[in-house]
Structures are given as structure tokens and as C-alpha cells.
Amino acid sequence: MTSADTPPRTLPSTSDNLLIADAGEGTRVEFRGVVKEYGSTRVLHGVDLDIAPGEFVSLLGPSGCGKTTALRVLAGLEKATAGEVRLGGQDVSAVPTNRRDIGMVFQSYSLFPHLRVADNTAFGLRRRGIGKKDAATRAADALELVGLGHLADRFPHQLSGGQQQRVALARALVTEPRVLLLDEPLSALDAKVRVQLRDEIRRIQLRLGITTVFVTHDQEEALAVSDRIAVMNAGRIEQIGTPEDLYLNPATPGVAAFIGVSSVVAGVVEGDVVTVWGVRLPLQAPSEPGPVDVFLRPENLRLADGDAPGMDAIVQESTFLGSFRRTLVRTSDGALVRVQHAATDRVEYAERVRIALSADPVAVRPRERERD
């Protein structure tokens, strides 16, 4: 997971206290029937979620699905219209934010501009009455944890986006909160920094054993770092599960479409199989018989010989992705489908190929009759 040029970090001895104190003793987080309305608009429809101590759970979904709202209700920055939020078994719905003992990292711009990095980091400790010297030491440790000990004297505007978010992380963690909340902390960063930082966040989280809730719209990010993912849509949780679960067994078409890359083709369900391109495939979940949209993952498809069961197609584009290729083809019945295959199989534009299906179960979504 580490990129080659991240220097190995040795923790100063005092930060062992952080590790020993919290490892494995995280706080349980529960959402019980949380509803949030703004005026007459309902943004959260009764969210139920149980997060085990020390677990890393992502709230994943498109913009407007309510994931950030749910996080903010947990933080106390929004008040739930109904339902309750529990930390460590206690109902904290009535507890104001500054007393919930949480650590939060925002999407951007949350560092105080007039304070140096060290003072920013120590801020929470000072507000709790911890003396200057103690606070400074603990802040220094936290900055070492995120690899920025050498930048303690800088001001936020002198740091890059990735560095600022690391400081924000150190600042949130130094007070040893019960829960760590992250609201799309990587969305404003460059792609490469994003990957580095998400791995670091996960590593630190595992070391500290702190319960973490992570909001993102990037499914790849969620799959990479989470113990479990809650996929949200339109104010509801559609599915909660491990990354593998969600990828291989999406419970709803919404989840199937959101996680991973899928192509959609037409099929017909009969009994407990769906027929696609003359091939019968098992269903992941039972479905009503009739015409359906079938979600095919690129790795479920392959380039085959001309007489294999499947479908003829014409190559539109082919992208080299390092260890494999993904080729977009147009089938002879007009569908656009992505196929994953060996990098050494080169194809040409407009070449005729044959696409075959593997026998893995697929997710389907019934077609409405009026649909085109």
C-alpha cells in the first residue's frame, strides 16, 4: 500500500501511550432510526447503523444521498428530527458538539489560518485546559504520527492540500477522541495524494483502533480502506457490507451500478436464471420473471473464439491499464459493453470480436414496460 518514497516512520516513545490506551478499546457508534428534515424536505429516512468498536465504516453514495448529513448528525452539527445517535451505548442526541468528544476532519479549509501548525494541532488540548508544555509535546507526537513533525512552525497557507489535511487529522486525533469522523477529506486533493493519504489514514486508524466513520462519493476509495461500507441513496442505506460483499453481491441495482464498473445489457429472467445473449446465468438475488437489465462486470466477460456462446461485437476503444486491458465494444444488438482481458491481447479499432460470459451470478433490475 505504501508508495516507495514514503519514509519509514519511527514513533517517539510517548506516542506509545496513544497506542496502548486506545488499541482495541474503541467506542461503539449507533444510529437508531435517524430522520432529518429541512422544512418539508426529508433528507434522511430513518437510518439504522451499528458500528462496532474500532471499526472503519464508510458512508458511500452520490451527491445528495444524505451521507454528509448523517455524519453531521453524528457530530452534533445537525440535530436529528427523529431517532437517536449513541456513542458507547449512551444517547448523545442532546449533547452539544463540543462535548461529544469526537475528532472531525472536514473536506478543506478547516485549519485556523492565523495559527502555526503546532498551535493548530494543540488547539483542542488547550481548550481542554491542558498546559502549554504538555499540549505542545502531545501535538508534536501527533504531527510525527502523520509525518509532518518538521513543518510544525509553518502556517496553513504555506502547506499543500495534502499536508493541510494531515495536520487536520493530527489535530483531530491528538485529543484521543472516542470516534473519528471524516467528511470527504480527500475529495479536494490530487489523485496521487489521495491514494497515499487514504492508505495513511487507514494505517493510523488500525494502529490506534479508533472507531471511524468516513464519508465519500468515491467507491474505489471506500472499497480500499473500509471494514464495512454503507451504500446510501436518497436518504436511505441501501446495503451495508464488507467491500467484497458489495462488489460481488450487490443487493440492489443502485448498489450494483454504483460499485465497480458495470455494463448494462438486456436479458430475460425465467425461474432462477437469466438468459443473456443465449447464455443462462445464475441470479445473485431472486427476481420477477420477465425482461430485465443485467449488470455485467468487465471481469465477467472475455474475448473468445468466433463460435463460443456469446455475442458478436465491434471494438470502439481499448485502454491499457497496466496489468490488464479494458476494451469497450458495441454488440451487434447495440449495447456498449466493457470487457477486461489480458494486456497482451491487443485489439484494433473496428475489429470484430466475440464476447463470452463467465458463469458467475449477476445482478438484475426489472425493466419497466414504458422504458425505451
Binding site: 462535548r99 472531525m104 492565523h114 488547539f123 481499448s318 491481447d345 491487443r346 485489439v347
Partner: protein
């Protein structure tokens, strides 16, 4: 596996829609033509030279020459005259007072408007009204002052007839130096609103929320984050208000048709009467004095602005 025909040449690994290839740039031929665009700057340069640089130089330099054209320090020495010094002092304390009071009131109004939609009724109205009052016509403001709290003003009469308070019991101060204070405030407060509102609006809600999550309170926020972050902008706006009041001429000219208790009025006197204190070109010396004061203040303003811009980036 499908047998694949590979393309020869550098495009082997990528099969792209052929229409997408880019045309290369046409080759440059011969020497590049001489660039005459410098000429385009000359009209503006000439204009600024003639109507900004030249007058300024004339204004300040004239203080170094007497009526016959000989170089002299007499005019500058006149700046040390007690009457002139008193004038500078008057200008300074009136400007300082109206700047501080204007800044505080203006900041309060900005705070009251915080969070309101920029295109909503309140802010567009206040912005337009502030623009009018801050930049538009000291003469007219003076007239409204006279109409309101002049010796025959509506408010004066009301206070006298209805409440028995005579605000001019001690003399007609409105036409003297103290009269400038309410008049100046009418344009200082709006100027503060215009200059300070952007700084206040730049306070990020994330700071407040982060502050909460770190265990802070609402009042603690203002103490530890809000005020420290706003302090430079407040100071900068204060300096601007000071410079604005110090430079102001029209309001005072309209209120005090005679007399010259502040520097701009002193310049008027110096310009409209041939000799003052037996020295010609005193106006130039006064102008020099004014420019020095205002330039120092504005330099401080520019310095602070540049630093805070980094925070708000």
C-alpha cells in the same frame, strides 16, 4: 483467443479513433514581425503623466519654491507654524475619532448582516446605500446634516420644542470643528461596511465547526479564532477610514464656508488668497504634508492587505 493484427509503428499499444489525432502547429516562417504593441500603452501613459503625475509633482514641489521661482525651505518651515500645526492636529484627531467610531459601528452592521444572502433585499439595499453615502457628494451630506441638526434643523427643533433640550446651548458647534464629526460618520460607517464585509464574509463556517468539534464554545470561537483572524482586516479598514477622513474636503467646505480648521480647508485658503502668513505657495507645502500623512497610512494599509490576502486564499 481472437487473432489480433498488430499495427506497426509507435501507435502499437493504443488503438484510438483515427479522427482524434491532433494537427501539428504550422511552422514559423522568417523573423517575427517587430512588436508595436508598446505604442498602445502610450495614450494611457501620457494621460496619467499629464493628469496624475504632473499635478502631484507640481503640488508637492511648489512648496519648495517661493513666488519668484527661487528654491526655498520657507514654505516647509511654515508647516511648523502653530496655526498650521493646530490644523494638522485637528485633522488628525477628527479623522482618528471618526475612523474608530465608524469602524466599530460599521463592523457591528457587517456582523448584523452576516449570513444573509448576498443577493437578498437587505444586502443589496445596504450595499447600494453604502456606496452612495461613502462615495457620493460631501456637499449633499452636509446639507442633510444642516437640515437635521442645524440650528434650524428638524431634529433640533423637535428636541427643543418637545423635550426642552437645546443642543446648541453652548454655541453653534455644527458649523465648527465638532460639527464635522456626525457629518463624517455618515460616510465613514458606510465605507467601513463596504471594506470590511468581504473580510467578515470570508470567515469560514468550517472554522466554527472545527472549533466546536475540538471542544470550543461559541464565545470562545470569537476570542480564539474570529477576532484574531479579523484583526488585520479591521485595522486595514480603520487605516482606510482615517485616510478617507483626512483627505475629505467637500463636506467641510460646505459646512464651514469660512474658516480653515482642518488641512484641506487650509489649502483652500492658501489657494484662494494670494499670500498666507506672508508666504506664497504655502498650498504646496500643505499638500506635501497631507500626502506624507496619507501615503504613510495607505502604505500601512497595503501592507496589511497583502498579508491577509494569503490567509483568505
Amino acid at each position: 483467443m481472437t487473432t489480433v493484427r498488430t499495427l506497426t509503428g509507435p501507435d502499437q499499444d493504443r488503438v484510438i479513433d483515427p479522427v482524434a489525432s491532433e494537427p501539428s502547429a504550422p511552422a514559423r516562417r522568417g523573423r517575427p514581425a517587430p512588436d508595436w504593441s508598446w505604442l498602445g500603452l502610450t495614450p494611457f501613459a501620457a494621460y496619467v503623466l499629464l493628469f496624475l503625475a504632473l499635478p502631484t509633482v507640481i503640488a508637492v514641489a511648489s512648496g519648495l519654491f517661493d513666488g519668484d521661482g527661487a528654491f526655498t525651505f520657507d514654505n516647509l518651515a511654515a508647516l511648523g507654524d502653530p496655526v498650521i500645526l493646530a490644523t494638522f492636529w485637528n485633522s488628525t484627531w477628527v479623522s482618528l475619532l471618526t475612523a474608530v467610531v465608524g469602524a466599530v459601528i460599521g463592523a457591528l452592521v457587517c456582523y448584523a448582516m452576516l449570513g444573509l444572502p448576498e443577493t437578498g433585499f437587505v444586502r443589496t439595499t445596504v450595499d447600494a446605500a453604502s456606496g452612495v453615502l461613502a462615495q457620493f457628494g460631501g456637499v449633499m451630506l452636509a446639507f442633510t446634516m444642516i437640515a437635521a441638526i442645524g440650528t434650524q434643523g428638524v431634529v433640533t427643533k423637535f428636541l427643543r420644542d418637545a423635550l426642552g433640550i437645546d443642543i446648541f446651548a453652548g454655541g453653534a458647534w455644527i458649523y465648527a470643528l465638532p460639527g464635522l464629526i456626525p457629518a463624517y460618520l455618515v460616510f465613514q460607517v458606510p465605507l467601513m461596511i463596504i471594506t470590511f464585509m468581504p473580510a467578515l464574509a470570508a470567515l469560514r463556517p468550517q472554522w466554527f465547526e472545527a472549533h466546536l468539534t475540538l471542544g470550543g464554545t461559541r464565545s470562545g470561537f470569537w476570542r480564539h479564532i474570529g477576532f484574531p483572524v479579523l484583526a488585520p482586516s479591521f485595522l486595514a479598514s480603520l487605516l482606510l477610514l482615517f485616510a478617507n477622513a483626512f483627505s475629505s474636503y467637500a463636506t467641510a467646505a460646505a459646512l464651514a464656508s469660512q474658516g480653515s480648521q482642518i488641512v484641506p480647508l487650509q489649502i483652500r485658503t492658501a489657494l484662494t488668497s494670494e499670500t498666507l502668513l506672508g508666504r506664497e505657495n504655502l498650498a504646496g507645502a500643505l499638500a506635501l504634508g497631507m500626502i506624507v500623512v496619507v501615503a504613510v497610512v495607505m502604505w500601512g494599509y497595503a501592507l496589511i492587505q497583502r498579508r491577509t490576502a494569503r490567509w483568505q486564499a
